[in-house]
Symmetry: C2
Subunit: 177 residues, 2 copies
DNA sequence: TATTGTTATACTCTATAACTATA
DNA sequence: TATAGTTATAGAGTATAACAATA
């Protein structure tokens, strides 16, 4: 039925690049998350949001722009920005031009947290990620991964995927003992 | 108090490598997770577990070995393997040599799911990740990321981290509007 | 005493759908 | 009608700590 023609298997280098990418990013992210939590009680997403805001000239972004850069769903962004606002690290205000819009601004406290968190963040990156690499390795990594990123961004996420019924997901009638 | 000497900032290539790595792996993982869910109702972790088991000669691994390779906490592994077992994709049995141990084995059904899921998985990797890369890019990526992975593995996770009190995390007394 | 694995529990995060308001 | 954002809700996943059994 769902017999898709089997694509040719990946060769060792392709597999190696994929597996190493997944493992490296998982470990790196895990460690960075711990550091951010310990140093500033930030989740990674929250850090990304703050860092994104801190990078703009006026510390300001529309919600939609933030969502596009960092989070996958609108509601998820609302949730995270809500947490940041409660903590006083960002402020929300109605958008000037578009009355539907909401503008998010990083606060002084937000910048302070960012500053408090950065040194440890960089330490982790150096020790865990950059340390074993030569200059040219880093250059090549940046170049190649940037190509991939641009490619990914250029591909529209395909919508309308067919859903299947649940099989492995947790089921209320979990008969298994 | 916690005045760590500010490390020198990262240069553009270092930052580029880091940001691109995070973005590429996030997008890739996100897309792959959707594919695995649609094609086989598997989460990424579950797929990793099945794939790990399927890779061994006898389709068998000790719990601890699985945890080291894939998951970060023991209880998390117990949870995931429990789901897979309920779905009939793996079986658990007492370990032969060590009476404390538990051996996990992939079942026929597990191998079927794996086979059903692989083609689409490879498709995603090709289209999203490998497509814009030249052979030498892939080789270099695999080489450099493998260096990083080996380095990461060689670093013992530092234990005994000081905990902080919650600040940004959701608080029960969420006074906000 | 140390290790293997499970269980109970609490909590974070994410996504979907329904909804409001403006363009 | 389409878009921006919020809310309600439900569910998955994870970690921590306590626990049982064996080495």
């Amino acid at each position: 039925m769902t017999e898709e023609a089997s694509p040719p298997p990946l060769d060792p280098a392709e597999l190696g690049a994929y597996f190493a990418l997944i493992e490296v990013s998982s470990l790196l992210r895990h460690t960075v998350e711990q550091q951010l939590r310990d140093a500033g009680d930030l989740s990674y997403v929250q850090f990304q949001l703050l860092a994104t805001l801190g990078d703009t000239a006026d510390g300001t972004q529309r919600m939609t722009e933030l969502a596009d850069g960092v989070v996958y769903s609108r509601s998820g962004l609302t949730y995270q920005v809500g947490l940041l606002e409660k903590a006083g690290l960002v402020a929300r205000s109605p958008s000037a031009e578009d009355d539907r819009g909401v503008t998010v601004t990083i606060t002084e406290a937000g910048r302070d947290v960012l500053a408090r968190v950065f040194p440890g963040h960089i330490d982790v990156l150096r020790q865990l990620f950059l340390e074993p690499l030569a200059r040219e390795d880093i250059d090549s990594l940046a170049r190649v991964l940037t190509v991939v990123r641009d490619h990914m961004r250029s591909i529209p996420p395909r919508s309308a995927k067919p859903r299947r019924k649940s099989a492995v997901r947790q089921s209320p009638t979990g008969g298994g003992a």
